[in-house]
Protein backbone atom coordinates (compact mmCIF):
# COMPACT_ATOMS: atom_id res chain seq x y z
CA UNK A 1 0.00 0.00 0.00
CA UNK A 2 1.05 3.59 -0.30
CA UNK A 3 2.29 3.61 3.27
CA UNK A 4 -0.33 1.69 5.17
CA UNK A 5 1.08 -0.59 7.85
CA UNK A 6 4.37 -0.37 5.98
CA UNK A 7 6.79 -1.00 8.84
CA UNK A 8 6.72 -3.54 11.67
CA UNK A 9 6.41 -1.13 14.60
CA UNK A 10 4.17 1.51 13.08
CA UNK A 11 1.80 -1.18 11.82
CA UNK A 12 0.86 -1.69 15.48
CA UNK A 13 0.16 2.01 15.97
CA UNK A 14 -2.46 3.00 13.39
CA UNK A 15 -3.36 6.41 14.82
CA UNK A 16 0.23 7.52 14.17
CA UNK A 17 0.62 5.62 10.90
CA UNK A 18 0.76 7.99 7.93
CA UNK A 19 -1.01 6.19 5.12
CA UNK A 20 -1.12 8.58 2.17
CA UNK A 21 -0.05 12.08 1.30
CA UNK A 22 -1.45 14.20 -1.50
CA UNK A 23 -0.37 17.63 -2.73
CA UNK A 24 -1.82 19.28 -5.82
CA UNK A 25 -2.89 22.60 -7.22
CA UNK A 26 -6.56 22.85 -6.30
CA UNK A 27 -8.48 22.44 -9.57
CA UNK A 28 -11.32 24.72 -8.46
CA UNK A 29 -9.18 27.25 -6.56
CA UNK A 30 -6.02 27.29 -8.68
CA UNK A 31 -4.14 29.86 -6.62
CA UNK A 32 -4.07 27.40 -3.74
CA UNK A 33 -2.46 24.05 -3.03
CA UNK A 34 -4.36 21.26 -1.33
CA UNK A 35 -2.39 18.96 0.94
CA UNK A 36 -4.03 15.89 2.45
CA UNK A 37 -2.29 13.66 5.01
CA UNK A 38 -4.12 10.45 5.84
CA UNK A 39 -3.76 8.46 9.03
CA UNK A 40 -5.43 5.37 10.54
CA UNK A 41 -5.28 3.13 7.49
CA UNK A 42 -7.83 0.45 6.63
CA UNK A 43 -10.70 1.64 8.81
CA UNK A 44 -13.64 -0.71 8.65
CA UNK A 45 -16.68 1.59 8.42
CA UNK A 46 -18.65 -0.48 10.93
CA UNK A 47 -15.87 -0.45 13.52
CA UNK A 48 -17.92 0.52 16.58
CA UNK A 49 -18.82 1.09 19.28
CA UNK A 50 -15.54 2.98 19.67
CA UNK A 51 -15.27 4.51 16.26
CA UNK A 52 -11.99 5.84 14.92
CA UNK A 53 -10.42 9.10 16.01
CA UNK A 54 -7.07 10.87 15.90
CA UNK A 55 -4.56 10.21 18.66
CA UNK A 56 -4.64 12.77 21.45
CA UNK A 57 -1.12 11.72 22.34
CA UNK A 58 0.24 12.13 18.81
CA UNK A 59 1.74 15.27 17.32
CA UNK A 60 0.83 15.34 13.62
CA UNK A 61 2.67 17.58 11.17
CA UNK A 62 2.57 18.68 7.56
CA UNK A 63 6.03 19.91 6.63
CA UNK A 64 6.98 22.29 3.84
CA UNK A 65 10.43 22.75 2.32
CA UNK A 66 10.58 25.61 -0.16
CA UNK A 67 14.33 25.95 -0.67
CA UNK A 68 15.30 22.40 -1.57
CA UNK A 69 17.49 21.42 1.35
CA UNK A 70 15.21 18.68 2.61
CA UNK A 71 14.58 20.63 5.79
CA UNK A 72 11.17 22.02 6.64
CA UNK A 73 11.02 25.79 6.40
CA UNK A 74 7.77 25.61 8.30
CA UNK A 75 5.39 23.01 9.58
CA UNK A 76 1.73 22.90 10.44
CA UNK A 77 1.19 21.03 13.69
CA UNK A 78 -2.07 19.34 14.60
CA UNK A 79 -2.99 18.41 18.16
CA UNK A 80 -6.27 16.72 18.96
CA UNK A 81 -8.42 16.70 22.05
CA UNK A 82 -11.23 14.23 22.82
CA UNK A 83 -14.30 14.76 24.95
CA UNK A 84 -16.85 12.30 26.30
CA UNK A 85 -20.01 14.21 27.13
CA UNK A 86 -22.06 11.40 28.67
CA UNK A 87 -20.09 9.19 31.04
CA UNK A 88 -22.97 6.81 31.69
CA UNK A 89 -23.44 5.18 28.31
CA UNK A 90 -21.38 2.89 26.13
CA UNK A 91 -22.80 4.46 23.04
CA UNK A 92 -20.96 6.73 20.61
CA UNK A 93 -24.27 8.51 20.14
CA UNK A 94 -27.58 8.31 21.93
CA UNK A 95 -29.67 9.48 18.98
CA UNK A 96 -29.24 10.98 15.54
CA UNK A 97 -26.32 13.37 15.23
CA UNK A 98 -27.78 16.20 13.23
CA UNK A 99 -25.08 18.82 13.74
CA UNK A 100 -21.59 19.28 15.16
CA UNK A 101 -23.15 20.53 18.41
CA UNK A 102 -25.79 17.85 18.72
CA UNK A 103 -26.00 16.63 22.35
CA UNK A 104 -26.70 13.10 21.09
CA UNK A 105 -23.05 12.89 20.04
CA UNK A 106 -21.16 11.48 22.96
CA UNK A 107 -17.56 11.23 21.80
CA UNK A 108 -16.16 14.15 19.87
CA UNK A 109 -12.82 15.65 18.94
CA UNK A 110 -11.48 19.13 18.42
CA UNK A 111 -8.04 20.22 17.35
CA UNK A 112 -5.50 23.00 17.31
CA UNK A 113 -3.46 24.04 14.28
CA UNK A 114 -0.15 25.76 14.93
CA UNK A 115 2.41 26.95 12.41
CA UNK A 116 6.01 26.68 13.48
CA UNK A 117 8.77 28.21 11.43
CA UNK A 118 12.34 27.15 11.02
CA UNK A 119 13.44 29.61 13.66
CA UNK A 120 11.02 28.13 16.17
CA UNK A 121 8.48 30.93 15.97
CA UNK A 122 5.02 29.53 16.60
CA UNK A 123 1.64 30.91 15.65
CA UNK A 124 -1.67 29.32 16.53
CA UNK A 125 -3.83 29.42 13.41
CA UNK A 126 -6.92 27.90 14.96
CA UNK A 127 -8.06 26.21 18.16
CA UNK A 128 -11.16 24.30 19.20
CA UNK A 129 -11.76 23.33 15.58
CA UNK A 130 -14.35 20.56 15.29
CA UNK A 131 -13.89 17.17 13.70
CA UNK A 132 -17.01 15.52 12.29
CA UNK A 133 -18.16 12.21 13.72
CA UNK A 134 -17.51 9.00 11.87
CA UNK A 135 -20.14 8.01 9.34
CA UNK A 136 -22.02 5.40 11.32
CA UNK A 137 -25.22 4.95 9.36
CA UNK A 138 -28.41 6.64 8.20
CA UNK A 139 -30.01 6.60 11.65
CA UNK A 140 -27.03 7.95 13.56
CA UNK A 141 -25.43 10.28 11.03
CA UNK A 142 -28.13 11.35 8.56
CA UNK A 143 -27.15 13.96 5.95
CA UNK A 144 -23.55 13.18 6.77
CA UNK A 145 -21.79 15.36 4.25
CA UNK A 146 -23.99 18.44 4.39
CA UNK A 147 -24.81 18.43 8.10
CA UNK A 148 -21.59 17.12 9.57
CA UNK A 149 -18.60 17.00 7.23
CA UNK A 150 -18.93 20.29 5.37
CA UNK A 151 -19.56 22.30 8.56
CA UNK A 152 -16.28 20.86 9.81
CA UNK A 153 -14.47 22.60 6.94
CA UNK A 154 -13.02 25.58 8.75
CA UNK A 155 -11.31 28.80 7.78
CA UNK A 156 -8.09 29.72 9.53
CA UNK A 157 -6.25 32.97 9.60
CA UNK A 158 -4.04 33.61 6.57
CA UNK A 159 -6.76 32.32 4.22
CA UNK A 160 -6.11 28.66 4.91
CA UNK A 161 -8.98 26.17 4.77
CA UNK A 162 -8.71 23.09 6.93
CA UNK A 163 -10.54 19.84 7.60
CA UNK A 164 -9.71 16.95 9.89
CA UNK A 165 -11.88 13.88 10.06
CA UNK A 166 -13.02 10.69 8.43
CA UNK A 167 -13.00 10.30 4.65
CA UNK A 168 -13.38 7.47 2.19
CA UNK A 169 -10.07 5.87 1.32
CA UNK A 170 -9.07 7.28 -2.05
CA UNK A 171 -6.01 5.18 -2.70
CA UNK A 172 -6.78 2.16 -4.85
CA UNK A 173 -4.56 -0.85 -4.87
CA UNK A 174 -4.75 -4.57 -5.54
CA UNK A 175 -3.22 -5.73 -2.28
CA UNK A 176 -4.15 -9.35 -2.64
CA UNK A 177 -2.17 -9.77 -5.82
CA UNK A 178 0.89 -7.60 -5.29
CA UNK A 179 1.74 -9.18 -1.95
CA UNK A 180 1.24 -12.72 -3.27
CA UNK A 181 4.77 -12.93 -4.65
CA UNK A 182 4.36 -9.89 -6.83
CA UNK A 183 1.48 -10.97 -8.98
CA UNK A 184 0.18 -8.30 -11.31
CA UNK A 185 -3.16 -9.78 -12.25
CA UNK A 186 -3.12 -8.61 -15.87
CA UNK A 187 0.22 -10.40 -16.20
CA UNK A 188 -0.58 -13.33 -13.94
CA UNK A 189 -0.21 -15.89 -16.71
CA UNK A 190 3.36 -14.70 -17.29
CA UNK A 191 4.35 -15.02 -13.62
CA UNK A 192 6.95 -17.66 -12.97
CA UNK A 193 4.34 -19.51 -10.88
CA UNK A 194 1.47 -18.44 -13.07
CA UNK A 195 0.45 -22.00 -13.76
CA UNK A 196 -0.63 -22.31 -10.13
CA UNK A 197 -3.15 -19.46 -10.15
CA UNK A 198 -6.19 -18.53 -12.16
CA UNK A 199 -6.31 -15.22 -13.93
CA UNK A 200 -8.84 -12.57 -12.98
CA UNK A 201 -9.29 -8.83 -13.14
CA UNK A 202 -7.85 -6.43 -10.62
CA UNK A 203 -9.42 -6.05 -7.18
CA UNK A 204 -9.58 -2.68 -5.45
CA UNK A 205 -8.86 -3.91 -1.94
CA UNK A 206 -9.46 -0.55 -0.29
CA UNK A 207 -12.63 0.51 -2.05
CA UNK A 208 -14.89 0.07 0.99
CA UNK A 209 -12.57 1.37 3.68
CA UNK A 210 -12.13 4.74 5.35
CA UNK A 211 -9.23 6.79 6.67
CA UNK A 212 -8.79 9.87 8.82
CA UNK A 213 -7.61 12.87 6.82
CA UNK A 214 -5.91 16.10 7.75
CA UNK A 215 -6.56 18.38 4.80
CA UNK A 216 -5.39 21.91 4.15
CA UNK A 217 -5.99 24.27 1.26
CA UNK A 218 -3.25 26.87 1.39
CA UNK A 219 -2.71 29.98 -0.73
CA UNK A 220 0.40 29.48 -2.84
CA UNK A 221 1.97 32.72 -1.72
CA UNK A 222 2.18 31.30 1.79
CA UNK A 223 4.04 28.27 0.52
CA UNK A 224 6.49 29.67 -1.99
CA UNK A 225 9.93 30.76 -1.02
CA UNK A 226 9.45 34.31 -2.27
CA UNK A 227 5.91 34.58 -0.91
CA UNK A 228 4.36 35.11 -4.31
CA UNK A 229 2.03 32.99 -6.40
CA UNK A 230 4.34 31.16 -8.81
CA UNK A 231 3.65 31.61 -12.50
CA UNK A 232 6.84 30.35 -14.14
CA UNK A 233 7.15 26.56 -14.15
CA UNK A 234 10.78 26.76 -15.24
CA UNK A 235 12.18 28.26 -12.04
CA UNK A 236 13.07 26.37 -8.90
CA UNK A 237 11.17 28.74 -6.63
CA UNK A 238 7.94 27.34 -8.08
CA UNK A 239 8.63 23.97 -6.50
CA UNK A 240 7.92 22.93 -2.93
CA UNK A 241 8.64 19.70 -1.11
CA UNK A 242 6.02 18.27 1.23
CA UNK A 243 5.96 15.45 3.75
CA UNK A 244 3.88 14.50 6.74
CA UNK A 245 5.09 13.11 10.02
CA UNK A 246 3.77 11.95 13.37
CA UNK A 247 5.54 11.93 16.71
CA UNK A 248 4.98 10.48 20.15
CA UNK A 249 6.56 11.45 23.44
CA UNK A 250 9.48 9.28 24.49
CA UNK A 251 7.92 7.79 27.65
CA UNK A 252 4.48 6.41 28.29
CA UNK A 253 3.42 5.11 31.70
CA UNK A 254 0.13 3.28 31.78
CA UNK A 255 -2.06 3.94 34.82
CA UNK A 256 -1.88 1.37 37.58
CA UNK A 257 -4.98 -0.74 38.03
CA UNK A 258 -7.53 -0.74 39.52
CA UNK A 259 -7.90 3.03 39.58
CA UNK A 260 -10.81 4.08 37.42
CA UNK A 261 -10.38 6.94 34.96
CA UNK A 262 -6.68 7.18 35.69
CA UNK A 263 -4.86 8.81 32.83
CA UNK A 264 -1.70 7.58 31.16
CA UNK A 265 1.42 9.63 31.71
CA UNK A 266 3.36 10.98 28.75
CA UNK A 267 6.75 12.56 29.20
CA UNK A 268 9.86 13.42 27.30
CA UNK A 269 10.71 14.81 23.89
CA UNK A 270 8.63 14.15 20.83
CA UNK A 271 10.02 11.25 18.85
CA UNK A 272 9.07 10.89 15.20
CA UNK A 273 7.52 7.48 14.55
CA UNK A 274 6.11 7.91 11.07
CA UNK A 275 6.68 9.98 7.94
CA UNK A 276 5.57 10.00 4.35
CA UNK A 277 6.54 11.91 1.23
CA UNK A 278 6.32 9.91 -1.95
CA UNK A 279 3.98 6.92 -1.97
CA UNK A 280 5.37 3.42 -1.63
CA UNK A 281 8.97 4.31 -0.76
CA UNK A 282 8.92 2.82 2.70
CA UNK A 283 6.46 0.23 1.49
CA UNK A 284 8.41 -1.43 -1.32
CA UNK A 285 11.80 0.28 -1.57
CA UNK A 286 13.21 0.36 1.95
CA UNK A 287 14.14 -3.11 3.28
CA UNK A 288 12.21 -4.56 6.19
CA UNK A 289 15.10 -4.22 8.59
CA UNK A 290 15.25 -0.45 8.12
CA UNK A 291 11.61 0.55 7.73
CA UNK A 292 11.03 1.75 11.29
CA UNK A 293 14.43 3.44 11.31
CA UNK A 294 13.45 5.19 8.09
CA UNK A 295 10.28 6.38 9.80
CA UNK A 296 12.38 7.99 12.53
CA UNK A 297 14.71 9.78 10.16
CA UNK A 298 14.40 13.17 8.49
CA UNK A 299 14.27 13.69 4.71
CA UNK A 300 17.50 15.70 4.83
CA UNK A 301 19.39 12.56 5.77
CA UNK A 302 17.84 10.32 3.12
CA UNK A 303 21.08 9.97 1.21
CA UNK A 304 21.73 7.04 3.54
CA UNK A 305 18.84 5.25 1.80
CA UNK A 306 19.78 6.31 -1.74
CA UNK A 307 21.10 2.88 -2.69
CA UNK A 308 17.66 1.33 -2.27
CA UNK A 309 16.19 3.84 -4.70
CA UNK A 310 18.92 3.67 -7.32
CA UNK A 311 19.03 -0.12 -7.19
CA UNK A 312 15.53 -1.15 -6.14
CA UNK A 313 14.85 -4.71 -5.15
CA UNK A 314 11.64 -4.72 -7.15
CA UNK A 315 13.57 -3.75 -10.27
CA UNK A 316 15.62 -6.89 -9.86
CA UNK A 317 12.62 -9.05 -9.03
CA UNK A 318 10.45 -8.16 -12.00
CA UNK A 319 12.62 -9.90 -14.63
CA UNK A 320 12.94 -12.90 -12.33
CA UNK A 321 9.23 -13.14 -11.59
CA UNK A 322 8.22 -12.60 -15.21
CA UNK A 323 10.81 -14.46 -17.30
CA UNK A 324 11.12 -13.14 -20.80
CA UNK A 325 8.76 -10.24 -20.19
CA UNK A 326 11.44 -7.68 -19.29
CA UNK A 327 14.50 -8.77 -21.28
CA UNK A 328 15.99 -5.29 -21.59
CA UNK A 329 15.64 -4.62 -17.88
CA UNK A 330 17.17 -8.02 -17.16
CA UNK A 331 20.14 -7.17 -19.38
CA UNK A 332 20.52 -3.77 -17.75
CA UNK A 333 20.55 -5.37 -14.30
CA UNK A 334 23.05 -7.98 -15.41
CA UNK A 335 25.43 -5.37 -16.81
CA UNK A 336 26.47 -4.15 -13.40
CA UNK A 337 25.06 -2.63 -10.25
CA UNK A 338 22.04 -0.64 -11.40
CA UNK A 339 22.19 3.09 -10.89
CA UNK A 340 18.68 4.22 -11.68
CA UNK A 341 19.14 7.95 -12.04
CA UNK A 342 15.56 8.15 -13.29
CA UNK A 343 14.19 6.83 -9.99
CA UNK A 344 16.55 9.00 -7.99
CA UNK A 345 15.24 12.03 -9.86
CA UNK A 346 11.60 11.06 -9.53
CA UNK A 347 11.74 10.23 -5.84
CA UNK A 348 14.74 11.95 -4.30
CA UNK A 349 15.62 15.21 -6.08
CA UNK A 350 12.81 16.02 -8.45
CA UNK A 351 13.11 15.93 -12.23
CA UNK A 352 15.43 18.62 -13.61
CA UNK A 353 14.69 20.75 -16.64
CA UNK A 354 15.45 19.24 -20.03
CA UNK A 355 14.22 15.74 -19.30
CA UNK A 356 10.52 16.21 -20.01
CA UNK A 357 9.58 19.14 -22.25
CA UNK A 358 8.00 21.98 -20.29
CA UNK A 359 8.47 20.33 -16.95
CA UNK A 360 10.71 20.31 -13.93
CA UNK A 361 10.20 19.82 -10.22
CA UNK A 362 13.85 19.79 -9.25
CA UNK A 363 14.65 20.96 -5.74
CA UNK A 364 18.41 20.58 -5.87
CA UNK A 365 21.03 17.95 -5.28
CA UNK A 366 20.00 17.08 -1.74
CA UNK A 367 18.44 13.63 -1.90
CA UNK A 368 15.34 13.55 0.24
CA UNK A 369 12.01 11.83 0.08
CA UNK A 370 9.53 14.64 -0.39
CA UNK A 371 6.45 14.96 -2.55
CA UNK A 372 7.57 17.69 -4.95
CA UNK A 373 5.03 19.99 -6.51
CA UNK A 374 5.66 22.58 -9.21
CA UNK A 375 2.92 25.01 -8.27
CA UNK A 376 3.17 26.98 -11.52
CA UNK A 377 1.84 24.09 -13.57
CA UNK A 378 -1.93 24.54 -13.81
CA UNK A 379 -4.25 21.67 -12.97
CA UNK A 380 -5.52 19.51 -15.78
CA UNK A 381 -9.25 19.87 -16.00
CA UNK A 382 -11.92 18.51 -18.26
CA UNK A 383 -12.17 21.91 -19.91
CA UNK A 384 -8.48 22.09 -20.74
CA UNK A 385 -6.53 18.87 -20.86
CA UNK A 386 -8.12 15.72 -19.57
CA UNK A 387 -6.29 14.58 -16.46
CA UNK A 388 -4.51 11.26 -16.72
CA UNK A 389 -4.40 8.84 -13.82
CA UNK A 390 -0.87 8.04 -14.99
CA UNK A 391 0.27 11.61 -14.34
CA UNK A 392 3.54 12.45 -16.04
CA UNK A 393 3.68 9.02 -17.68
CA UNK A 394 0.32 9.81 -19.23
CA UNK A 395 1.50 13.20 -20.48
CA UNK A 396 -0.30 15.07 -17.70
CA UNK A 397 2.23 17.44 -16.13
CA UNK A 398 -0.10 18.17 -13.21
CA UNK A 399 -0.04 14.61 -11.91
CA UNK A 400 2.30 12.37 -9.95
CA UNK A 401 5.23 12.68 -9.53
CA UNK A 402 4.45 16.34 -9.82
CA UNK A 403 2.75 16.27 -6.46
CA UNK A 404 0.00 13.70 -6.20
CA UNK A 405 -3.73 13.97 -6.82
CA UNK A 406 -6.32 11.79 -5.18
CA UNK A 407 -7.00 9.84 -8.37
CA UNK A 408 -3.44 9.26 -9.52
CA UNK A 409 -2.71 5.55 -9.99
CA UNK A 410 0.57 5.78 -8.13
CA UNK A 411 1.02 2.02 -7.91
CA UNK A 412 0.92 1.61 -11.67
CA UNK A 413 3.08 4.69 -12.21
CA UNK A 414 5.79 3.52 -9.85
CA UNK A 415 5.79 -0.07 -11.06
CA UNK A 416 6.04 1.12 -14.66
CA UNK A 417 8.92 3.39 -13.69
CA UNK A 418 10.73 0.64 -11.80
CA UNK A 419 10.09 -1.71 -14.72
CA UNK A 420 12.15 0.66 -16.84
CA UNK A 421 9.58 2.91 -18.50
CA UNK A 422 11.45 6.04 -17.37
CA UNK A 423 15.02 4.78 -17.55
CA UNK A 424 15.37 5.86 -21.17
CA UNK A 425 14.84 9.46 -20.13
CA UNK A 426 18.25 9.54 -18.48
CA UNK A 427 19.97 6.71 -20.35
CA UNK A 428 19.27 7.02 -24.09
CA UNK A 429 21.01 3.72 -24.72
CA UNK A 430 18.34 1.88 -22.78
CA UNK A 431 15.25 0.78 -24.66
CA UNK A 432 12.35 0.12 -22.29
CA UNK A 433 10.66 -3.24 -22.65
CA UNK A 434 7.26 -3.09 -24.29
CA UNK A 435 5.78 -4.61 -21.14
CA UNK A 436 7.03 -1.74 -18.98
CA UNK A 437 4.35 0.63 -20.17
CA UNK A 438 1.70 -2.09 -20.16
CA UNK A 439 2.11 -3.02 -16.52
CA UNK A 440 -0.91 -1.90 -14.56
CA UNK A 441 -3.08 -2.88 -11.64
CA UNK A 442 -6.11 -3.51 -13.80
CA UNK A 443 -8.11 -1.10 -11.65
CA UNK A 444 -8.75 1.59 -14.23
CA UNK A 445 -10.48 1.32 -17.58
CA UNK A 446 -8.17 3.82 -19.30
CA UNK A 447 -5.67 6.56 -18.60
CA UNK A 448 -8.47 9.08 -18.20
CA UNK A 449 -10.53 6.94 -15.84
CA UNK A 450 -10.32 8.94 -12.60
CA UNK A 451 -12.85 6.86 -10.68
CA UNK A 452 -11.00 3.54 -10.62
CA UNK A 453 -13.81 1.94 -12.61
CA UNK A 454 -16.45 3.59 -10.49
CA UNK A 455 -15.10 2.28 -7.20
CA UNK A 456 -13.95 5.70 -6.00
CA UNK A 457 -16.20 8.68 -5.41
CA UNK A 458 -13.96 11.69 -5.20
CA UNK A 459 -15.38 15.16 -4.62
CA UNK A 460 -14.80 18.01 -7.04
CA UNK A 461 -13.95 20.41 -4.23
CA UNK A 462 -12.22 20.45 -0.86
CA UNK A 463 -11.51 18.06 0.80
CA UNK A 464 -11.71 16.06 -2.47
CA UNK A 465 -11.67 12.63 -0.84
CA UNK A 466 -15.11 11.07 -0.91
CA UNK A 467 -17.83 10.83 1.71
CA UNK A 468 -16.74 8.13 4.16
CA UNK A 469 -18.40 4.78 3.72
CA UNK A 470 -21.24 4.31 6.15
CA UNK A 471 -21.03 1.51 8.65
CA UNK A 472 -24.62 0.49 7.99
CA UNK A 473 -24.28 0.18 4.23
CA UNK A 474 -20.80 -1.27 4.02
CA UNK A 475 -19.64 -3.58 2.63
CA UNK A 476 -22.73 -4.33 0.56
CA UNK A 477 -22.88 -0.94 -1.16
Amino acid sequence: MSSHREAPEISKDPVADSADLYAFVSPDVPDTVTIIANYIPLESPDGGPNFYEFGTDVLYAINIDNDGDGVADFSYLFEFQSETTNLDTFLYNTGPISSLTDPNWNRRQTYTVTQINRNGHMKVLGAGLPCPPCNIGPLSTPNYETALAQPAVQQLSDGITVFAGQRAEGFYVDLGSIFDLGVLRPFAADHILGNLISTMGGVNATKALNVHSIAMQIPMDLLSRRKVTPTNPAIRDSVIGVWTSAARQAATVLPPTPKANAASVYAGPWVQVSRLGNPLINEVVIPLSQKDFWNHEAPASDVQFAQYVSNPELGRLLPALYPGVFPNLAAYNAAGTPNRADLTAILMTGIPSGVIPGFQNFTGVVQSDMLRLNMAIPPATASSTLPSNLGLLGGDLAGFPNGRRVFDDVVTIEIQAIAGATLGLVDPSFKPDAAASLVNQGLTSSGTDITAMGTENYLSSFPYLGVPHSGYYTPSS
Partner: protein, 99 residues
Amino acid sequence: MAQVSRRLFLRNSGLAVAGAGVMSQIPFLSSLVGPAEADAPAAADAATAGANEGAATMTEPLVAHVRDLSTGEIGIFNGTREVVVNDPQLAARLFRAAR
Protein backbone atom coordinates in the same frame (compact mmCIF):
# COMPACT_ATOMS: atom_id res chain seq x y z
CA MET B 1 2.96 36.25 18.83
CA ALA B 2 -0.67 35.32 18.93
CA GLN B 3 -2.15 32.90 21.40
CA VAL B 4 -0.03 29.91 22.19
CA SER B 5 -1.61 26.96 23.91
CA ARG B 6 -0.38 26.01 27.32
CA ARG B 7 0.94 22.74 25.99
CA LEU B 8 2.91 24.41 23.23
CA PHE B 9 4.09 27.13 25.55
CA LEU B 10 5.41 24.61 28.00
CA ARG B 11 7.06 22.77 25.18
CA ASN B 12 8.70 25.87 23.80
CA SER B 13 9.78 27.23 27.12
CA GLY B 14 11.39 23.92 27.86
CA LEU B 15 13.55 23.88 24.77
CA ALA B 16 16.65 21.83 25.05
CA VAL B 17 19.96 23.20 23.91
CA ALA B 18 19.97 22.96 20.14
CA GLY B 19 22.38 20.53 18.59
CA ALA B 20 23.95 20.53 15.16
CA GLY B 21 22.53 17.26 13.86
CA VAL B 22 20.01 16.81 11.12
CA MET B 23 17.21 16.44 13.63
CA SER B 24 17.80 19.96 14.76
CA GLN B 25 17.16 21.26 11.27
CA ILE B 26 13.51 20.31 11.29
CA PRO B 27 11.44 23.09 12.80
CA PHE B 28 9.12 21.11 14.95
CA LEU B 29 11.70 18.49 15.77
CA SER B 30 14.40 20.99 16.61
CA SER B 31 12.08 23.06 18.71
CA LEU B 32 10.04 20.31 20.22
CA VAL B 33 12.20 17.21 20.06
CA GLY B 34 15.48 18.88 20.87
CA PRO B 35 18.37 16.68 21.86
CA ALA B 36 18.86 15.78 25.45
CA GLU B 37 20.45 18.33 27.70
CA ALA B 38 23.77 17.56 29.25
CA ASP B 39 24.21 16.76 32.88
CA ALA B 40 22.39 19.03 35.23
CA PRO B 41 24.86 20.93 37.42
CA ALA B 42 25.49 19.30 40.75
CA ALA B 43 23.92 21.03 43.72
CA ALA B 44 26.46 23.07 45.65
CA ASP B 45 24.82 22.40 48.91
CA ALA B 46 22.71 19.36 49.58
CA ALA B 47 20.65 21.00 52.29
CA THR B 48 19.84 23.97 50.09
CA ALA B 49 19.01 21.69 47.23
CA GLY B 50 16.74 19.68 49.47
CA ALA B 51 14.97 22.82 50.62
CA ASN B 52 14.50 23.96 47.05
CA GLU B 53 13.13 20.60 46.05
CA GLY B 54 10.70 20.75 48.91
CA ALA B 55 9.42 24.12 47.80
CA ALA B 56 9.17 23.16 44.15
CA THR B 57 5.92 22.07 42.62
CA MET B 58 5.92 19.37 39.98
CA THR B 59 3.62 20.54 37.24
CA GLU B 60 4.44 17.89 34.67
CA PRO B 61 5.19 14.18 34.78
CA LEU B 62 8.71 13.13 35.64
CA VAL B 63 9.98 9.76 34.40
CA ALA B 64 13.50 8.41 34.91
CA HIS B 65 15.07 5.77 32.67
CA VAL B 66 18.19 4.14 34.08
CA ARG B 67 20.10 3.19 30.95
CA ASP B 68 23.37 1.95 32.36
CA LEU B 69 23.97 1.02 35.97
CA SER B 70 27.75 1.06 35.66
CA THR B 71 28.05 4.53 34.16
CA GLY B 72 25.00 5.83 35.98
CA GLU B 73 23.46 7.15 32.79
CA ILE B 74 19.88 8.15 33.52
CA GLY B 75 17.50 9.80 31.09
CA ILE B 76 15.05 12.01 32.92
CA PHE B 77 11.92 12.91 31.00
CA ASN B 78 10.13 15.99 32.22
CA GLY B 79 7.38 17.60 30.17
CA THR B 80 8.73 17.47 26.64
CA ARG B 81 12.37 17.61 27.69
CA GLU B 82 14.97 14.99 28.41
CA VAL B 83 17.89 15.63 30.71
CA VAL B 84 20.67 13.04 30.81
CA VAL B 85 22.60 12.69 34.03
CA ASN B 86 25.54 10.41 34.75
CA ASP B 87 25.32 9.54 38.41
CA PRO B 88 26.29 5.96 39.36
CA GLN B 89 25.22 6.49 42.98
CA LEU B 90 21.77 7.73 42.00
CA ALA B 91 21.42 4.89 39.51
CA ALA B 92 22.40 2.42 42.21
CA ARG B 93 19.88 3.89 44.66
CA LEU B 94 17.10 3.66 42.10
CA PHE B 95 18.12 0.11 41.32
CA ARG B 96 18.05 -0.84 45.00
CA ALA B 97 14.69 0.86 45.46
CA ALA B 98 13.27 -1.19 42.63
CA ARG B 99 14.30 -4.52 44.10
